[in-house]
Symmetry: C2
Subunit: 698 residues, 2 copies
């Protein structure tokens, strides 16, 4: 329905959003390009632009109906896109990174999602050369489409509690996969519901009646031609979710399904087909390493995930005007930009600071991981040569560095994904009423991101692993047997200075600000240690303390990594002084608002004084908000999101917010095709819809 | 697709959810019925059951496809339900309360929503007898279907900034309604998009070129027979939203639309058609009162809104088992109920306490409102007799009580709706992975509730009104001219004791606990007053302080109201000692966890000591969680939600969580009707769907 001419002639009331946002950009001297290049590298940005051009030219990736489609249509379109994306990958010879960039630009989970990630990764990582030939090759050619079936209806976090069984049959040398209960159903499995024809099934290995814990088995589940489920397989989609509805998360029940011996992935542990003996895993710490890698990736991504919301909300706050300033002289014309209100700044700008804080932390984590991975490889080879056949417990001793990195990644995954998820919702609300419209682009992005707080370790569960590690480190420090790493260093400092007390100059010195966070972590660790070891409190009674401890530790790491990034030679070389100064202010803003929010722990540990927090709260933070505010637009621009990627009326780079909202509502909205009959007693529901099936029910 | 027999034979692994939940209920001696009756009255519960039976017997109210439908289908079904509900109202002679109960049970916004609330209310409240005859009568008979068009594309909170104009034409004695800009489009208007044929349009009244501010005008927008928009009217639905998608929130542009003189609602102000003179409103404080009423309702409802999430999460936490207790002796069989973990208790039980806290506060607010309304009526009559013709400013003096109630309702509306919205998300996450499934019933409920944080005053904007009132009261107290109310009383106490300091025994005395909250509010008020009056800081620079102040004041009120409810004669009479004891523990849990979360302000005001908070945190709160836990199931049962209303697999009263999740996924899910072709290069998308329109695009 094209609008009449008088509607087409209307413009937003002045000043125009495009002028406001242009003026806003002029307020800052930050070099957006330099900052973008520093954050992502020039090569990565050029690649992104190149791939974006390809996607935009393909009709199947047109996003204009995304917000209107129901579940079934969204899935169909997502499937068409997944297929086309694979074709483009082949055509343009994209590597895995290119393919990931394309997926990020499309910004929706797709039906091949778990095939191209977990299925291929698992086969590569856990398959023997023979198995790779058999399963990985057809999967890489998309002749097999697979998924990774671990979680069950009754078991998520507790992998050891999985119910699905894989029983070794020495007679015909097969495994029998079976779901003994309804709760044994595999559940939440991405790409399983409608798409996959193969699955890696995690099942309890049973040999001669003895259980050996969960192991991975490749299982064909659908016919390669008809795509119908095979005999003994009951499979389907688990239904709609809060988000992620372009993905067919599925369920799977297996009724005594026989698979050959070769289908148990055997790189790390296996069953000897002749003797029916179980052969123990050679190096579990390498698997351990993969999880650390995945979590580090989540930390790095959390900055960018949050940055989308911050970009949208900040741009809209520069265009949106509401009320006059209460202290403005009477007669002042025009309303105030929402971004000028301190209440809006206080909600948005600390999140803007968090995007950079998380990004730098993620980068530091990845670097540390790669460095350690090299060492681990050497360790693993050594262990493999000397300790083959030993159980998993004995092989852990050689991996102190990884233990630190593992714990760090657990805590930071929890903090990063929680910060991003909750921050996105803050951004959405900071957009006022229009934030609730799907066209804001934040709601669906938030809803799709939410599972990240649960998968790869539930954010609350993970904090126990962090606490366990910190307690262990603290015990080692007390015994004088600690390995030399950052954690033990801050504990040692704390123990040395504990009696004298700390005098952290948090308002004057950056390193003191970092040290205050280290002090709080150390204090909470030794408190928890006292509760556990001296007072013998139960583990369960300390879970809340552990969660607080893990959060404290992770916040310390984020503050420290931001601080170190600012000192780094590459930053000093690549960025100009104005930008470095603003980033420094963002560091202080992140650190001080975090400190203020968690003030109670900083007081009780005597890391800071009440007076210092009061000053930080009422003066320093407010001053920082004022100083960062003129740079807000350029800072979000540096995140380099294209309008196509954001798909947001409110976050348009050109500020044409109201035109875009109006266009989508009036021109793209299928509901406006219905002319209803509004009266309760009429027999007609929709005047122009023959399928108005509720007619007869009235 | 009916499952094969081997699937039908499967049961969840033992113990069964139904047994777990039954055992759980046996742990407590609380009388659920007595508590329900006390909360809602026996009559209200019986009415609810009676109406529930009627709705369940009507096919159109069947909820089984709600979570699967896309926007267009959801709207169609909602329209059919709205029509049928109106028919039932006539058939059973339901009053407004009955009708509201039915809507609450259906639990989705409907296309008649704004007609039956704001449109009718506005006509009743602001129409003259002649106008009521003309507009209200056909609206009450559903011959007119109306809506209330205030918010515009460019203006939400700032009503004075509305752009739509109503220009008086003395020639033919009409008003010309006009939208001068695109941003003047009415936007977000419930029931306008597809349903309404009339609207109350708020527009800037202009007489002889002079502006008189926003006023209400009745405007027909669609043809009574064809339902097509009238000439000069451009109207439609604004598109999908994060929630509320059963409602047709609409837009409206008007191009010089003429309406007769009688269409300006004239009970409070009007234009004299002969002289073209503006006649000033006689009693603006009565309108002021309506807003207070609406906000008080939101406070009362917030308890119940949150209780749905808490009910679902608590029941599921009693059924769900994950991991063994880490300290359990080795060899212990079976996993631990999730509700036994302190980390889960710490997230859920303070919210359970908040449901009761908000409920009691809402009830107290409503009672206070009604009491004051009587006084106001007398005031209004007095003013109307003596001050007719005076401007709005002069008539405010007589309404000190209402000013207090108004400010209180603003702050509590913000706190209550924020607590409910954010609490629901905490409940959803506390359900782990399955919380993300639509079948949890929390996600959609949360998404539909979210706008409450924005409408009837944005929760952040409202805090300014609270602060303004508290500053005014503080100034009056300092001048010795304060009216006698609770606010001025706590300020006076604070000023008297300020120098001696406070010694609140928050762990030993309930009244001291309440007093500590009063102390903190008073401290923050006088701090803010110093910043504003002595240091002459700008209003804008104090917005964050004002928001903190408003939150502190509202938390004080909630704690005080909970405390007073416990002392009330009716509670002591109607409930048994066990229940009263548990409610008392909930009071302390709510107060102490709130105090601990906001610890920093309690320290700096010297309302409590660091040592007290540390004790509260590590000992008292953990003890309270342990003591409340056995009663959790019965406490949520007392909220009296039927399974039909909750529509949640996880929140089933009988604990059959896994059976219900499986049934909905496998039997109700339309996506499972599609058999796809999984290969990227095939020309086929969906094997069994002729309309697979993306085929050609591959």
């Amino acid at each position: 329905m094209s609008p009449p001419q008088w509607v087409k002639d209307l413009k937003p009331s002045p000043p125009q959003g495009s002028d406001l946002i242009a003026t806003e950009r002029e307020k800052s001297q930050i070099s957006v390009d330099k900052l973008s290049n520093f954050l992502f590298t020039k090569e990565a940005l050029e690649r992104q632009d190149r791939i974006l051009a390809i996607l935009k030219s393909e009709e199947v990736f047109d996003k204009s109906q995304n917000y209107f489609h129901g579940r079934v249509d969204r899935f169909k379109v997502a499937l068409a896109r997944a297929k086309r994306l694979r074709q483009l990958q082949v055509k343009h010879n994209w590597n895995a990174d290119d393919y990931n960039v394309a997926n990020e630009l499309i910004s929706e989970p797709g039906p091949y999602g778990l095939h191209s990630s977990m299925y291929l990764t698992t086969l590569r990582g856990q398959g023997t050369p023979e198995q790779q030939k058999l399963f990985l090759e057809p999967a890489e050619n998309y002749e097999h489409i697979g998924c990774y079936a671990q979680t069950e209806l009754g078991h998520g976090s507790n992998v050891r509690g999985l119910e699905t069984t894989a029983t070794w049959d020495p007679q015909d040398k097969t495994f029998i996969l079976h779901s003994p209960h309804l709760t044994s159903a595999k559940w939440w499995i991405g790409s399983l519901g409608r798409t996959a024809n193969h699955a890696v099934v995690m099942a309890q290995l049973i040999i001669n009646g003895k259980k050996y814990g969960p192991h991975p088995f490749v299982c064909q589940i659908r016919d390669m031609k008809t795509h119908e489920p095979l005999e003994g397989v009951y499979v389907g989609d688990i239904g709609p979710k809060f988000g992620y509805n372009t993905m067919d998360n599925g369920f799977l029940l297996l009724n005594h399904v026989k698979i050959p011996h070769v289908n148990m992935l055997a790189r790390f542990s296996r069953v000897d087909p002749e003797t029916s003996k179980y052969v123990h895993p050679s190096s579990p710490s390498l698997i351990y390493g993969t999880l650390t890698w995945v979590r580090s990736t989540i930390v790095l991504q959390s900055g960018g995930v949050l940055a989308r919301g911050v970009t949208i909300a900040t741009r809209y706050a520069a265009v949106r005007r509401q009320f006059q300033d209460r202290d403005a002289p009477s007669g002042t014309l025009g309303e105030n930009q929402v971004l000028n209100y301190t209440m809006v700044q206080f909600r948005l700008l600390p999140l803007l600071a968090a995007t950079f804080a998380l990004h730098f932390t993620g980068k530091a984590m990845m670097a540390l991981y790669q460095e350690n991975q090299k060492k681990m490889q050497l360790d693993a080879e050594r262990i493999s040569n000397t300790a083959r056949g030993a159980g998993p417990e004995e092989t852990h001793s050689g991996s102190d560095l990884l233990a630190d990195l593992h714990a760090t990644s657990c805590g930071l995954k929890a903090l990063g994904s929680t910060t991003a998820a909750e921050g996105l919702e803050v951004c959405r609300r900071a957009c006022g009423g229009h934030g609730y419209s799907s066209f804001s682009g934040i709601g669906s992005w938030y809803a799709d991101y939410l599972p990240t707080t649960t998968w790869e370790g539930d954010n609350y569960m993970l904090t126990q692993q962090v606490a366990r590690y910190l307690l262990k480190s603290a015990r080692a420090v007390l015994k004088g047997k600690a390995p030399n790493n950052d954690t033990t260093k801050i504990f040692t400092t704390f123990l040395q200075k504990q009696d004298m007390g700390a005098a952290h100059d948090i308002l004057g010195s950056d390193s003191d600000l970092v040290a205050a966070f280290a002090w709080r972590t150390s204090f909470l660790t030794f408190e928890a240690l006292k509760h556990r070891d001296a007072e013998k409190n139960s583990w369960n009674s300390l879970l809340v303390d552990f969660w607080r401890l893990s959060t404290a530790h992770s916040q310390y790491l984020v503050v420290k990594n931001f601080y170190e990034a600012l000192q780094s030679e590459s930053l000093q070389r690549e960025l100009d002084p104005v930008t470095i100064d603003v980033l420094h202010k963002l560091f202080r803003l992140y650190a001080l608002t975090t400190l203020e929010k968690e003030a109670s722990e900083f007081y009780s540990s005597a890391a800071v004084t009440v007076r210092q927090i009061q000053l930080a709260r009422t003066k320093t933070v407010m001053k920082l908000l004022e100083e960062v505010r003129p740079h807000a637009l350029r800072l979000v621009d540096a995140w380099h999101f294209s309008d196509w990627q954001l798909d947001s009326s409110l976050g348009r780079k050109d500020g044409k917010v109201y035109e875009d909202l109006f266009y989508r509502a009036s021109q793209l909205n299928p509901l406006n095709g219905l002319t209803i009959d509004p009266y309760p007693d009429s027999g007609v529901l929709i005047k122009n819809d023959e399928s108005a099936k509720f007619k007869s029910k009235l």
